[in-house]
């Protein structure tokens, strides 16, 4: 749909704008990835680093970008300074802003400019092409940021449709029920069903919890139908490609296999000081951020492979792994990962580099262990096209299974995330799903067994 955007610049087509914007919204997901990348002015870098440091000291409330202002639409956000592709030969460093937002990226951007225009000046004022001081207003700031938007080739949402407001509210609900339960004399009740009724009665009596009795907002019927249709079409196209072009795919794999045997693995281990620096801000909250960048292997075969792989990854994330379990396919014996909130893959610098960021539960060690143990194949599919990655066979085998080499590879490519915001730092993805199930369990009738299972969530 973004391809239609230039058309709107032609006056005659501007009447179509409302229609295009509706179409865009329809094609979007309920949660969307915002990525702004703007080239940095070398002379401003030092000052920007100070500003970012100041912001990170109090991400929720600060003079420049108080992320707490966006508590109804913003999940995670980060700011990082990305070194240029040929840095230091050519400078080319850039400032990257990423956010996982409810609703459209454009709506969020205008909210951002509206509420924190001057703060954006503090940050993006360090970038080339940012409006001059006397020309800064809502429109010029918005145009700048919109022009710097770049797409994510693949994007993971833990549970499509669950907004930040819902997550925060449902946690308040659980906490209120927990406090209430401490006052209930369970001995006086004869069954789990009865106890559940007592809990529901408590919620009915609390005006500020009444919302919980209605089911959580869902994407519209039409949107879901469209997503189903999208899946069917993609699956059909996929099947068509496999049936008609399987010899080509096979030949492609053989070519990759010969390339794999010649590719160089990275031998260097990340310097200890660098690791100490990267680890220092981690494990303050229940979840963490991860940002990394690397060069793709040269040649069109690898570039095409990574693009196709990312499309396949994106389609499966959007249509299959969209309910809290990443890459789990029980009947194939594939184990899933339930600790990732959001992740994205962004091709940059004319597809020379791949930028990956994620928000995950627990320590980096446990995150890496999940990769090594459970979804090494999925990581290999994309990242084995990156220079220096541990050797793979047939694109998906080995690679990340080589624990030490894989951990060293990540250490060599991890970036500092200068600012990171989380609105629910005490909750894991599993907690969030459990909270949603608690709320859902307030609906309808339950038999004794169901009531027991529901109460076990508390």
């Amino acid at each position: 749909m973004d391809a239609l955007q230039p058309l709107l610049n032609i006056p005659a087509f501007s009447v179509l704008e409302p229609l295009v914007s509706r179409l865009q919204k329809f094609n979007q997901q309920p949660q969307n990835p915002l990525t702004v990348r703007a080239e940095l002015n070398l002379e401003q870098e030092a000052k920007l680093r100070e500003t970012l440091k100041r912001i990170s000291e109090n991400v929720v409330r600060n003079q420049s970008l108080p992320f707490g202002l966006f508590k109804d639409s913003l999940h995670f956000a980060r700011l990082l300074i990305l070194p240029g592709a040929d840095h230091p030969e050519r400078y080319g460093s850039s400032l990257v802003l990423m956010a996982n937002v409810d609703g459209s990226v454009h709506d969020f951007l205008s909210e951002l400019v509206m509420k924190a225009g001057r703060g954006l000046d503090d940050v993006f004022g360090a970038c080339e092409g940012y409006p001059e001081a006397d020309r800064r207003n809502y429109a010029t700031r918005l145009v700048f940021l919109t022009e710097k938007l770049i797409p994510a080739q693949a994007f993971y949402i833990n549970t499509i449709g669950r907004g930040v407001k819902q997550i925060v509210q449902e946690d308040q609900l659980r906490q209120a029920i927990q406090v209430f339960l401490q006052q209930v004399d369970v001995q006086m009740l004869s069954s789990a069903r009865e106890l559940r009724k007592v809990v529901i009665a408590f919620i009915k009596k609390n005006p500020h919890l009444l919302w919980a009795l209605a089911p959580a907002a869902q994407p519209s019927f039409w949107w879901k139908a469209k997503e189903q249709l999208r899946l069917v079409v993609l699956a059909f196209l996929g099947a068509l490609v496999v049936t008609w072009f399987w010899p080509l795919l096979l030949a492609w794999l053989l070519v990759l296999q010969t390339k794999e045997s010649k590719d160089q693995e990275e031998r260097r281990r990340p310097p200890l000081l660098r690791l100490t620096q990267l680890r220092a801000p981690e494990d303050v909250y229940t979840h963490n951020q991860f940002s990394a960048v690397g060069y793709l292997k040269s040649g069109w075969v690898r570039k095409t492979t990574v693009k196709v792989a990312l499309s396949v990854v994106h389609a499966s994330l959007r249509h299959v792994f969209n309910k809290g379990n990443l890459a789990g396919v029980p009947f194939l014996g594939l184990e899933g990962v339930d600790t990732i909130h959001f992740a994205r893959w962004v091709l940059i610098d004319d597809d020379r580099r791949l930028l990956f960021t994620s928000n995950y539960d627990g320590s980096l060690e446990s995150y890496m262990v999940d990769f090594v143990d459970k979804v090494a194949w999925g990581l290999n599919l994309v990242f084995s096209n990156g220079q220096g990655y541990p050797a793979t066979r047939w694109l998906v085998m080995d690679g990340a299974r080589n624990e030490q080499k894989f951990k060293d590879f990540l250490g060599n490519h991890q970036l500092d995330t200068d600012v990171w915001y989380t609105p629910y730092g005490h909750l894991t993805a599993v907690n969030i799903a459990n909270n949603a199930a608690i709320r859902q369990g307030l609906q309808g009738e339950m038999n004794e067994r169901q009531a027991q299972q529901w109460l076990a969530r508390l």
């Binding site: 659980r174 927990q178 339960l181 401490q182 369970v186 009740l189 069954s191 789990a192 106890l195 281990r269 200890l272 690791l275 100490t276 680890r279 220092a280 981690e282 494990d283 303050v284 909250y285 229940t286 184990e335 899933g336 339930d338 539960d361 627990g362 320590s363 060690e365 446990s366 262990v369 090594v372 143990d373 459970k374 299974r401 080589n402 624990e403 030490q404 730092g425 005490h426 909750l427 894991t428 599993v430 907690n431 459990n434 009531a451 027991q452 109460l455 076990a456 508390l458």
Partner: protein
């Protein structure tokens, strides 16, 4: 299964294969190297006294470990030191490790009795059949120290408690990883945890060799080091060695049982039962999964049990109980109850070699007696606790993972605000921000029972990461490497 040659058995320090249960008196000497030339000479002389795996001493055993600073003090070249694990080189006291290990606030390294100084180089561990034998050995070393270029920083004594208990009154040290290579009766197809998880130079649970230091063969002038099994031309400095994690954990026995008495009254549950729910075993050691209602001393050393089949909900052994977190067996994803789940837990095991220190709160070691004593107001200020020592090949994936991801993490296994009730750190930042207290949840039907505001019963008083080299590696490290 790996094959260990006679040479390997004579190379492994015996602490790797046994905890010296027959030698109840122990002493740990923390030393600084003040004169490297003299110290090397002295330590080389001591090499013949180093207890190796083929020996089973009945009176005295000695093992030696080094810190990363110790390697520097021995003038080991930097390019060799770089081959050691990152966490060992960085040490326990980095900003990040303070977070994850819970060494913050009044438990921060600045307040420790030992371990925060840069000058901790060497750990000599002595084990003896009784105190007179131990004292004699310590005296001999202490007298030699001034002339040996070594300075004693700290002496830590340990004495095993009666009935293999720890200070709170529970039987300890029951669950240890099974290593088939260390079991002379093991069958060829015996399944256990991979040897490479606990000893460097062997394949680990992923089927790979863990990162370890290797050196140029030319440096090994005495030709004492083994070759690199991975096929390089280098000599393997890590083989038959491992990393040793040492933490001095002070236990507040009176505070623990006093709190249990009060919390038990409030929650209408017997304090000993509440404590057992927190531990996951009864004072005798009987696991709650097998003995849910009351202590069953006939099951006291039982280790052959799992969680998923018998107790998936945690009705018997709570999901957040100490032993269910530090060794979750088959209870965690992927596929709880399966071999895969067991394999996952087995990649995070520790070989425990810790011992209690300080006089028991009451000689009976019985919680009921402890409670009576507290009720009578007989509380002392004695320093007591555990000299926690564990061995592992990968400190980050094993010790730190268990301590953070399983013990300290309040969100472990779907919980929200429940750190390990015994050893977990309290008041973590994320919890503070959300206004949450440190709780302990006992799953039950129709609904869980909860106790809130758990104080810290265990405090870190010292700690460091050491390398426990093979005998040959130690011999190599004591030679003159800068020529």
């Amino acid at each position: 299964m790996n094959q260990l040659s006679d040479q390997d058995w004579n190379d492994l320090q015996a602490l790797v294969v046994r905890g010296y249960g027959n030698l109840p008196s122990a002493c740990y000497l923390l030393l600084t190297i003040t004169d490297v030339v003299v110290a090397k000479k002295y330590l080389t002389q001591q090499l013949s006294l180093l207890t190796v795996a083929t020996q089973k001493p009945e009176q005295l055993a000695m093992n030696i470990a080094l810190t990363a600073q110790g390697l520097q003090a021995l003038c080991v070249p930097e390019n060799i030191i770089k081959g050691f694990a990152d966490e060992f080189r960085a040490g326990m006291n980095t900003p990040h490790r303070r977070h994850i290990l819970g060494d913050e606030g009044d438990q921060a390294p600045e307040h420790w009795q030992w371990g925060h100084q840069q000058s901790l180089h060497l750990l000599i561990m002595l084990y003896a059949v009784d105190w007179p034998h131990l004292e004699k050995a310590v005296d001999e070393i202490q007298q030699a120290l001034p002339a040996a270029g070594l300075l004693l920083q700290q002496r830590l004594d340990s004495e095993s408690l009666p009935q293999q208990k720890e200070h709170f009154g529970f039987q300890d040290g029951i669950a240890q990883p099974y290593i088939a290579e260390f079991d002379s009766n093991a069958k060829d197809n015996a399944k256990g945890v991979a040897l490479g998880e606990f000893v460097l130079g062997y394949k680990n649970a992923y089927g790979y060799y863990t990162q370890r230091p290797k050196v140029d063969a030319k440096l090994d002038v005495q030709n004492c080091l083994p070759v690199d099994l991975e096929g390089s031309a280098l000599k393997d400095l890590g083989k038959n060695g491992t990393y040793l994690v040492f933490r001095q954990l002070q236990q507040d026995v009176a505070g623990f049982w006093h709190w249990l008495q009060q919390a038990g009254e409030k929650a209408d549950i017997d304090p000993v039962k509440l404590a057992s729910k927190m531990v996951g075993r009864w004072p005798s050691g009987a696991p709650l999964v097998k003995a849910p209602d009351e202590d069953a001393p006939d099951l006291k050393a039982l280790d052959a049990f799992a969680y998923h089949q018998e107790d998936p909900e945690g009705y018997r052994c709570p999901l957040g109980a100490h032993i269910r977190r530090t060794n979750p067996r088959d209870s965690l994803p992927p596929e709880p109850g399966s071999e895969k789940s067991m394999a996952f837990s087995d990649r995070h095991r520790l070989l425990r070699r810790g011992r209690a220190y300080g006089a028991p709160f009451d000689a009976s070691m019985s919680p009921t007696e402890f409670l009576k004593k507290i009720a009578a107001g007989k509380v002392d200020n004695q320093d007591r606790g555990l000299h926690f020592i564990c061995l592992n090949a990968n400190i980050t994936r094993q010790f730190e993972f268990v301590q953070y991801t399983w013990a300290n993490n309040p969100n472990f296994n779907g919980l929200y605000q429940d750190p390990d009730p015994i050893i977990g750190s309290r008041g973590r930042v994320a919890q503070r921000l959300s206004g949450a207290t440190d709780d302990f949840t006992m799953q039950a039907c129709p609904v869980r029972q909860k106790v809130s505001d758990l104080p810290a019963f265990v405090r870190t008083r010292g700690g460091a990461y050491f390398f426990l080299p093979s005998k040959s590696a130690l011999q190599f490290l004591l030679t003159d490497l800068v020529s």
